[in-house]
Each structure stands twice: as structure tokens, then as C-alpha cells.
Symmetry: C2
Subunit: 289 residues, 2 copies
């Protein structure tokens, strides 16, 4: 049976997309927006999400709360949710839906269950659920309860296994999609700085046109998302290090997205110029970079 009230922290692009779908299914969707921008508030209102004054109210009035935040902030948000659960003795399921390493989500699960709430690990693949292609994966003791959202318009698949499994899937999936985009960006900037970008494009078109087409399709969405992806790539580095693989690859990729965040949202050509300019400044004044 689908839940009556679901809390979502916070109303970013993904969070508000989830809120929109749940609201359309007749669910009361609560959110907490302290310190958030007017854009986020407007997005929440448009999604039919109802703002509550504090996290205590959120965990007390919701049957389940979904944490959908930039990956780097997931542990801090979990700490706040745990404090709210402890303060209210709320009877609630907390689901971490963020792109974080299995080790990170296991730490969060411990904090949440120690505070007295139930917990589900969840991973989201694809765009917000207002568009085709979105799906949730979930694992751990709270997975079956989280899967009630399948009756509320979301595609949810329960994975066998403990907390960490859903996050592991998300990490491995994102490693290819976002790893490839970062590689493509890094080598295009290098080619530009080395003066071989035009001839390179022709040679790539000849041997790997499908890959270029993928990169071309992905490029326009990179700048607005890069600020979230920095933390996500750092979580992939952690995830891979945890299993004994070189995390360095994704530390380099995180650095690429860090540079992308310094650029204005513009056609990819201008973004590459912006990163190239940062490289030039670094070479001229390494101590300032």
C-alpha cells in the first residue's frame, strides 16, 4: 500500500521531480527548505510539495523520508535527520537515495538506526521521474518498505543484499556515464591546448563515432550538474579504493568536474575554452592555482 505522507530533503531537480510524481499520485509530500534559494522554493511549490518549519516536523509527520541531496552533503544531512528522529522518537523510514560509496551509506545507516529509525539504501539511475528512464534500486532491511513507492508511480527494484548494494550499483553505473564524459572533456581541453583539436575530431569521428555521439548528447547538461558530480566522483574513488581498485582515476575525474564548476553554463565549446584558460593560469602561476 502506498504511503500517505512522504518527506523529501531537499527540492533540487531530482527531489522536486520525485515530489511531483508522488504528489500527482495523491501523496502528501513534505519538504524542509531552511536556507534554500528562492529557485528551490519555487520548484517545491510547483511540485506540490508542502514546506514544514523543521526536520522534527518532517520526520514526525512522514511515513518515510527520502534524502536526495548533493552527494558530498549526504552524511551531514543524515546526522541532522538522526538528531530529529532522536528528538521526536519518530516512527519513520529514512532512505538515503544519494550517489555515495557503500562505505559511506553503511556509516549513514548506522547513524540513522542508532537514532531509532528504520533505514533503506537507495540509488537512482536516469533523469528525474517526471521524464522517461528513471528507476530506483533499493537494498537493506528497509528495502521492502521503500518499495511501497512502486505503488506511487516510481519504478523501484529491490536488490538482494544489505545496505550498500543499491549504492554500489549506482557507483558502478555512474563510473561509466560520468567517467566517460569527464575523459572526453579532459582530452578535448588537452587537444585544444596542444593545437590538435580539429584533426583529433576527424580521427575520432572515423573510428568511434558512436562514442562521440554519446558525448555530444551529454555535453549540454554537464555544467549545471558538475557541482553535484564532484562529490559523486569522490564517492566513486572511495568505493573503488574500498574494494582494492585504484581510486586515483576518479580523483582525477572529480578534479575535471571541479574545473567545470568554475565555468558559466554555455555551449560546450565555450566550456572547453574556460577550462583551457584555467589550465593556462595554473601553468603561469602554479602557486595561485
Amino acid at each position: 500500500m502506498k504511503p500517505h505522507t512522504v518527506g523529501i530533503v531537499t527540492a533540487g531537480e531530482m527531489g522536486s521531480g520525485v515530489g511531483t510524481v508522488l504528489h500527482q499520485q495523491g501523496i502528501r509530500v513534505l519538504t524542509w527548505l531552511e536556507g534554500r534559494s528562492d529557485v528551490t522554493r519555487e520548484r517545491a511549490r510547483h511540485a506540490g510539495m508542502v514546506e514544514v518549519p523543521d526536520l522534527e516536523t518532517l520526520v514526525r509527520e512522514s511515513e518515510m523520508v527520502l534524502s536526495i541531496v548533493p552527494p558530498a552533503t549526504a552524511p551531514a544531512v543524515a546526522d541532522q535527520l538522526a538528531a530529529a528522529v532522536r528528538a521526536t522518537s519518530a516512527d519513520v523510514l529514512i532512505a538515503d537515495c544519494n550517489a555515495i560509496a557503500p562505505g559511506t551509506v553503511r556509516g549513514i545507516a548506522q547513524v540513522i538506526t542508532d537514532a531509532g529509525a528504520r533505514f533503506a539504501d537507495a540509488g537512482i539511475i536516469g533523469p528525474p521521474p517526471t521524464r522517461p528512464g528513471n528507476r530506483f534500486f533499493t537494498s537493506g532491511a528497509g528495502a521492502a518498505e521503500f518499495a511501497r513507492l512502486a505503488e506511487a508511480g516510481l519504478a523501484v527494484r529491490v536488490l538482494d543484499g544489505d545496505v550498500g548494494k543499491a549504492s554500489a550499483l549506482k557507483m558502478c553505473f555512474a563510473a561509466l556515464t560520468k567517467g566517460l564524459q569527464a575523459l572526453g572533456t579532459e582530452l578535448l581541453v588537452a587537444a585544444r591546448l596542444l593545437g590538435v583539436d580539429e584533426v583529433l575530431r576527424g580521427e575520432q569521428q572515423r573510428d568511434m563515432g558512436n562514442i562521440l555521439a554519446y558525448l555530444d548528447r551529454a555535453a549540454p547538461t554537464m555544467v549545471p550538474k558538475a557541482h553535484r558530480w564532484v562529490g559523486e566522483m569522490e564517492e566513486i574513488a572511495r568505493c573503488f579504493d574500498e574494494v582494492g581498485l585504484p581510486g586515483a582515476t576518479f580523483e582525477g575525474i572529480a578534479e575535471i568536474y571541479r574545473r567545470v564548476t568554475e565555468c558559466d553554463d554555455a555551449p560546450i565549446d565555450e566550456v572547453l575554452d574556460c577550462i583551457a584558460e584555467q589550465c593556462r593560469l595554473r601553468r603561469e602561476a602554479p602557486s595561485l592555482a
Copy 2:
């Protein structure tokens, strides 16, 4: 006009492929095989390459000498060629055709021209020229002379610019092809270790089937080539660091190929198991890894 005599160091898969094509065009192809395996000698013989007893003979009797060696050994081979040029005062063009950073090839150019020979930077894209898709790029003062090989059955394109340009193109091209294969390998090993490989495959197939198809096609050639690619990825790291981009990405990728070299040449499934097993050993005994 095509050259009469060309030297090639050494007769690996690429070197012997180049030797085969030049030999078929009526060019006398010399090589130097001291310390090389019986397999390499047999490959050279099959290609119609004539073994000479030392590098002095090679540089004296050849109009041009192509260095086609594992990237990590390119500077040492260049030092040996320079010594041979110095000892013989040979009138010869030395072309470095290896996958190395612009900074590395500039160092080699200095060594070769200081010894009194002419120099061309060259980069090879695609398979050996006995198969379709091979092409050479060349730059620097010796590029026009190197391009005489276009009359000897090779696809050669001269790039505007100095020594380093041809190598830069090769680096940026290989960064995508070999970078993507390494990413694919790393995340598949991670997925296996984390127990999400089957579900991951289905999700990737759904969203990025073209990329999977590319990786599946590339996988069978990875093991026999990985020993060369370790050095090549380290050169890409150097190349990207030189222009102010994070080399860490390709240091991680080099480490992936280092692990691949520890595996037997087998179906990709067994190669992934082999790398996964190395990861387990590292986690159990980090000090031994």
C-alpha cells in the same frame, strides 16, 4: 620518392606490420633484434625484415630509422640510436613513432639532433598497416622527409607545427580509446566485487548499449597489449599534467593496465576474475600488494 632502405626498431606487432608493408613495396627493411625473443625473430623473418648485427649498421645503411617500441622504453632506445649515429656520423632521419608525451618526444628530438641526425615526430593511430584503418601523423622539421613513406604504402599525414604535435594527437586519441576501456574494466571488476555485475549489465545495456558494444569489441585485445599500455597511460598522464590538467586520471588507468598484465590472455570474464582476485589479496595483505 620512396626510400630504398628503412630501419625499424623493433619487430613487435606494429613494427613488423610496418615492415611487411614496406617490404611488399620493394623497400629493403632492416631491423636490430639483439636480446629479442624467438617469436619476434620469426615475426621479423615473416615480414621480410633483414636483421643487422648492431645499431651502428642499422643507422649507417638506412635512409630513415623508425623507433616503434613499448612507450616506456622509447627514451632509452633513442639514446642508443643517438650513440650509434654519433659513432658512425650516419646521414639518417630518425622518426620516433611511439605513444609518448610531447615533452618526452621533445627530449628525444634534442638527443637525436645533438648526435647529428635529422628527426621527425610521428604518431600511429589504428592497427598495424597490414590491416585497414592504420594511419601515421608526423610533425617537426623531419616531417616532410618522413612523409616519403606515403609513397611506400603507408597512410601519412603531415601536421603543421613542431615536434610534439604528432605525439599530442596520439595522446589525445588514445586517451579516449584506452581510457574508456580501462574505465569499463575497472567498474566491471568493482561491480563483480560488490555483487552487482548482473544487474549493472542490464542497466547499462538499456541506457548505453553503443558504449557496451564498443567495450565488448575491444575487450579481447586488451591482455596482450596491456604491457605497452601501462607506459602509454603514464605518458598521457605526463602530457595532461604538462598542459595543466589532472594527470591522476591516467595514473589510475595505468594502474588498471598494470593489473591486467598480471592476468593470462583469456576471455574477458576470466580477466575480470583475475583482477578481482588481485584486489582481494591487496585488501587481505595491503603491505604485500
